[in-house]
Subunit: 284 residues, 2 copies
Amino acid sequence: MREFTEASLTEAVVKRIGRTPDARLKKIMSSLIRHLHAFVRETRPTEAEWAAGIEFLTKTGHMCDGKRQEFILVSDTLGVSMLVDFINYGRHAKATESTVTGPFFVPGAPDVPIGGSIAAPGTPGQPARVSGSVKDDKGKPIAGAVLDVWQASGEGFYDVQPQSNTSGGTNLRGKIRTDANGEFWFRTVLPVSYPVPTDGPVGRMLKATGRHPMRPGHLHFAIEAPGFRRLVTHLFTAGDKYLDSDAVFGVKKSLVVKYKKAKSGEWTVHHDFVLVKSGKRPRR
Amino acid sequence: MREFTEASLTEAVVKRIGRTPDARLKKIMSSLIRHLHAFVRETRPTEAEWAAGIEFLTKTGHMCDGKRQEFILVSDTLGVSMLVDFINYGRHAKATESTVTGPFFVPGAPDVPIGGSIAAPGTPGQPARVSGSVKDDKGKPIAGAVLDVWQASGEGFYDVQPQSNTSGGTNLRGKIRTDANGEFWFRTVLPVSYPVPTDGPVGRMLKATGRHPMRPGHLHFAIEAPGFRRLVTHLFTAGDKYLDSDAVFGVKKSLVVKYKKAKSGEWTVHHDFVLVKSGKRPRR
């Protein structure tokens, strides 16, 4: 009869999944089992600590619904999402850098014509005008690139958050297409710093570990064009006091942009995005 | 401005929790961050694989309610619960060994007098009589020890599972106290092998990794007495075909007991439990 010890258990569990048909799944699960066991061996949790872990995961799951993704927030705040970002997109000479998607992306944003606004009338915040271009790494403009943009309001809430003032409608989201010259512009409000949601398990974790929940102001972009890799990135607002301590570790210097105040009082910024051709492997 | 690389990110995240007031929490979280990042570095998940992981956790959370604990089932089926058991209870000369609690323990089981039955009339299964004693490691009987017992029916379901025939009531659970001689006996049905719940994420994980979901037949015990460590254990049914491949790795040879058929047709078993005094550290 098989019987295990603290020493023999881990490899017995790995052996148990030895007949996993999918080789990639087998590799991931074997690695997961070994790292999970290594974590337990190192920390030697009491039964009560183990139960607290089970409860944290359970409450995190219960916090998730169609509008809230608390597990992505766990991944973001523990730096896992950025690690996945580094591994997948990596760095490419000349190309715009990527950063985290975050928990607030919603597919199916409305189309917004060039020059239109993604902010519904009355959206809290200072008016801003964002312009730029999408090019390849040789400087050639990409016409018809789709920029899926989303952001929080001047009060720091996304439309899907219960605190937003958008009464359930879509706001501060839009899909904009570059024109024949690869250029675009749209109106919105100035992105400001805001806390990630703190009313769930992640908020309690941040507090218990002495961390603030703030992210520097930023505008999200997911940019797609045929023949190019999808780029998920932010433009961070220069001068924000949280650029050095983003709660999700997402800041990259090249993504910080300076808004200028026009005579009209509108904040303006211009940024040229450079996409990577499909299939290009990152440099490390 | 701080900016991270794949190489520098992990220690930056650990540093971010450097002001955690609780030293134990700081140690656990630092270890969690490093092991989680090590897992990601080793497996290098694609964005789609990372998203599948988030979805697995989310669905596991959504499966949990007052009667179902899918995260405990994840912990059990990946051997983590047994590792925590080894670390905490360990081995003690002469004392009864421990094993997993599992996801089906419910506090507040009804008191059952010695000689009573934990099985409601009509419970599917073959009649059984379980007797034994509770002693200290010097062989001294422990009077008034409380044995909290629970098990699945002869059809392999616990009362809290939707497939059970108990129409929402408590069944196959009870708290029994040892008499002045440290002895007890009660009636029930013979424990048989059964699958852990397979209608959720854990079931899909077991199938995808080529594993069966079966546990050998067993009767759960949580035994408490003043001055002694609480013992959580099973008695496994000898001869069960799944003793060698328990889906949660919980079998220990010393916990396998042989039921004998009495002339009345009732299965009978006798087992003497030995408790460890409070504060005794396990030998490894």
